[in-house]
């Protein structure tokens, strides 16, 4: 008997007892939906926890400081750096050559004077009271009513944001290599008197960033202003600052300020890069990469021990939730076995007739296994679809709650392997449940079955 014929036979037999087939499939569907939803929730929870630890960056990321390593801190996740040491281009090249390194992303940082929201959008609560900036060459008017203050602007290659500890909270990242667009952090929102939920009120506004430079021995300062547009709000741990953009603008500001060293500004920064983010190909290689970075001469930190510990606990939770789903599936599979055993009893004579007209034992077995597989496949498909709906429903509920608490929501996405695994799992478990009834049917003595 061909597989196609066995499937056709199985379909006929299932339709013969539609009530029993539907009830059996419902059991499988419920189990598959439970399995899908639990595994998806566990997976999302795991991603969320790890995302919190890595601040949205890669799990195997290493933060390299512009400082020499302190030998006494060796092996710690977050060591105190040693003496300052410029991160040079040659050092970056050496890091890229370390085995297991997949990305080396330099982080730039520059000090800036900030005049918030020179052009508040319609309806914004940012006011428009002008105030002059005193004692500086090139002073500007302040239209926001927020005091002028100093902060940092952080620059990084945002095209590789997936490897950086940066999460977009609202709006967009700056356009590629833009020098006129920035993202701001929630600290900026607080600074201008807005809460975390008011991100949309700053998006689209302008901000004046002034890079300063000491121009003579009397420490007179010259300011060079850039008007930039705020295009998004981010949570970022790549550097220390309220502004984030591509490296171009930051490098320019850095060079402007660093030129002050020639006029006696010993505090002017020497290193273009304040840090480097190195990504290893896997978590288990992080230690070796960090040792190699120390050999090159730089201090590094990575939450590898925390991640390993947390992952261990998360795996236990995932295992428990998956086990609950699998147990439900196994119970449903017992239903399949029971239904098929009943079918073998009912169709005893028909099985005998099939064998009498030439069916081999394996033909009979195949028919019953295909019946079990069909029940599992259809039940798995329906159940997995239901599980996805449940997962998204719970996800929406959780996100609404998180948002109402002023927290970042969870990305609601389901990896393709979870539904595929649930469908395949339901089918395999069902086929396994059908083995005993199928063997019993195949081994029926032909004559006795015919005369039953």
């Amino acid at each position: 008997m061909r597989w196609r014929d066995a499937i056709a036979m199985a379909r006929r037999e299932l339709l013969r007892r539609p009530g029993r087939a539907i009830l059996t499939m419902v059991a499988i569907a419920l189990a598959a939906s439970l399995l899908t939803a639990l595994v998806a929730i566990a997976s999302t929870g795991r991603d969320r926890v790890l995302d919190q630890i890595t601040h949205g960056g890669a799990l195997a990321s290493i933060s390299v400081a512009a400082a020499a390593p302190d030998q006494s801190q060796e092996g710690l996740d977050n060591p105190t750096p040693g003496r300052p040491l410029s991160l040079t281009a040659s050092a970056l090249r050496a890091m890229r050559k370390i085995p297991g390194v997949t990305a080396v992303i330099p982080i730039l940082q520059a000090q800036v004077i900030v005049i918030p929201s020179a052009r508040p959008p319609a309806g914004s609560r940012l006011c428009a009271a002008a105030r002059p900036l005193p004692h500086c060459e090139g002073s500007k008017g302040n239209s926001s009513g927020v005091p002028i203050y100093g902060s940092n602007i952080v620059g990084a290659d945002l095209s590789r944001v997936g490897s950086l500890p940066i999460s977009l909270l609202a709006g967009n990242y700056p356009s590629a290599n833009s020098t006129t667009e920035v993202d701001v952090t929630p600290d900026y929102l607080t600074r201008v008197g807005l809460g975390d939920g008011a991100a949309h009120e700053v998006i689209g506004t302008d901000v004046e960033l002034g890079a300063f430079k000491v121009v003579n021995r009397e420490f007179r300062v010259a300011l060079r202003w850039s008007t930039v547009e705020i295009v998004g709000v981010v949570d970022q741990q790549a550097g220390s600052g309220e502004f984030l953009t591509y490296p171009g603008l930051v490098a320019s500001d850095f060079r402007w300020t660093a030129a002050g060293r020639a006029h006696g500004d010993s505090d002017a920064p020497q290193s273009l890069y304040t840090g480097v983010l190195v990504e290893a190909d896997q978590l288990s290689h992080v230690s070796a990469v960090r040792r190699a970075i120390a050999t090159i001469g730089y201090s590094s930190s990575a939450p590898e021990d925390v991640i390993v510990s947390v992952e261990r606990y998360l795996h236990v939770i995932e295992f428990i939730l998956t086990a609950i789903g699998v147990v439900a599936l196994a119970i449903a599979a017992l239903g399949i076995a029971n239904a098929l055993l009943a079918a073998v009893r009912e169709r005893r004579r028909e099985i005998g007739v099939m064998k009498a007209i030439g069916a081999r034992d394996r033909d009979v077995m195949r028919t019953f296994l295909v019946e079990a597989g069909c029940l599992g496949l259809v039940g798995g498909l329906v159940g997995t679809a239901l599980g996805i709906v449940i997962f998204f429903g719970i996800g929406d509920f959780a996100n609404n709650y998180l948002t109402s608490q002023g927290l970042r929501g969870v990305p609601i996405a389901i990896a393709w392997d979870i539904p595929v695994g649930a469908i395949i799992g339901a089918t395999i478990v069902s086929v396994l449940a059908g083995v005993i009834p199928a063997r019993r049917a195949a081994r029926l003595a032909t004559r006795e079955a015919v005369e039953a």
Binding site: L15, K355, D363
Partner: protein, 236 residues
């Protein structure tokens, strides 16, 4: 010279039930030529159905020689016996043996499907066979939608689907009323003539026995002739 379809000699068979040995067949000898039509009678428990199941490869012979269409059934394994049943034997049961989930045509197709015939070819052949047995307009009906006589006709169409050498019919009219029984008896007889197959029918129905050339009886496991329409001795 006629070919031999069935060659049985010294065939004995017994069952062990509740630690008691029950001899069902004792030293049975039977020679059937290809194209012959034999009726077999006997009281209940005389071994008729056992003989049919042994000839049809449903059971393995315990002792004696049993050759059907040149195949020594004692030497065949499970798959070979299944192949033998598919290609050499056509069964007709008293209870019809139709699968309730399948239509009349699909029941006939089942035998062809097990023999590896492709879908379109077996559909054509099943439809043609049902037309041959007078059910051309009932192909899409399920067994419960057919009368007893019609069901048995479907079973006969299925039995001849793979053009078997030997048709074994166990009380084919046992569940039919008089008119339907006569009709089925005539159908079996005409099929035997037209298709040149060998027919062994277990029956108590005089109408069906009347079509047979040879009449055998089983008495307590022993096979004996009760008469032959052309005086040809077939059983011992």
């Amino acid at each position: 010279m006629n070919e031999t379809a069935v060659d049985v000699s010294g065939l004995s068979h017994r069952y062990i039930r509740r630690e008691r040995t029950l001899s069902v067949l004792r030293d049975v000898n039977l020679l059937m030529e290809k194209g012959s039509y034999v009726s077999l009678v006997g009281s209940s428990g005389s071994g008729k159905s056992t003989l049919l199941s042994l000839l049809g490869g449903l059971e393995r012979p315990q002792s004696g020689r049993l050759v059907v269409a040149g195949a020594n059934l004692a030497s065949l394994n499970g798959d070979e016996l299944a192949h033998f049943r598919r290609t050499v034997i056509g069964f007709v049961f008293q209870h019809f043996g139709l699968l309730e989930a399948l239509t009349a045509r699909e029941n006939v197709e089942l035998a062809l499907m097990l023999n590896g015939i492709g879908r379109s070819a077996r559909t054509r052949r099943a439809t043609s066979l049902l037309g041959d047995v007078g059910l051309g307009d009932r192909t899409s009906h399920r067994p419960h939608e057919l009368s007893g006589g019609e069901r048995q006709r479907v079973a006969i169409a299925r039995a001849i689907a793979n053009e078997p050498l030997l048709i074994l019919a166990d009380e084919p009219t046992g569940n039919l009323d008089g008119e339907a029984a006569v009709s089925v008896a005539e159908l079996l007889s005409s099929i035997r003539r037209e298709r040149d197959c060998t027919l062994l029918v277990v029956t108590h129905n005089p109408a069906i026995a009347a079509h047979a050339e040879t009449h055998l009886t089983l008495v307590e496991g022993h096979l004996a002739p009760v008469g032959s329409t052309d005086d040809e001795e077939l059983g011992g």
